[in-house]
Amino acid sequence: MFDVGLNHYLLLSAILFSLGMIGVLIRRNAIVILMSIELMLNAVNLSFVAFSHQMNNMDGKIIVFFVMTIAAAEAGVGLALAVAILKRFKEINIRQFEQLKG
């Protein structure tokens, strides 16, 4: 078990991912939720790189490259939206934005 192999990386990735998911679910601050999403994306990147290293396949790293790009873009847009909402409503608590209820 102490000899680190693919499984360890995958386990770490799973832990980080679920931590990120818990963060999305339990935090009230919209910015922190966005941060938790970034955490999840990072975990996924880790698992891609681990597989790529294991398979000696370059495609995993390519995907990571793209994922990072997209994550950065998404973070930018998400924060811009958060700023817009913050300016209007002066509130960052997502529980205040429940107008889409049935």
Binding site: L25, N56, I85
Partner: protein, 174 residues
Amino acid sequence: MGESYNIVFYILSSVAVLAALGVILLPNPIYSALCLAGTMVALAGLFFALGAYFVAGVQLIVYAGAVMVLFVMVVMLFDLRRETEAFSGGPWGFFLKIGAGALALGLIAGAFEISKTGAPEAGDKAAALATSTKALAEVLFTKHVFAFEIISVLLLIVIVGAVTLARSRGGTHV
């Protein structure tokens, strides 16, 4: 891989996990942001250990360098210090934790299962490590050149979108 490799792995992974816990548990958003940056740095180290030098570099520059700075800037801009409640929901919290814990279990199980069926090929790791950046570049600009171009367009769109959103006076009107 020698013992050093293992130790490096365990240290870096512990840092990453602890920092992640900090992200989601600390009430102050600035602390959360800094912890996230720490997670990213730890992950960059892990990428180094896996021989993905280029990816590690990009992680440090783009993620830890640009994205986190953006987060911190937004948090500071709006002075989000005061948080009377950090965690949303009361009894829901229980369900959330249970759901997430179950998910973790499921994911781990899935990860193990897949790794058992997949066929790992032992290749020339030393050679791959040495020329990894060059090989990545080759594949990127030949096999995935279309996706690369699309990504560029996407970034352009994002820039335009972000500027538009920033220009607005906020709220529900355009």
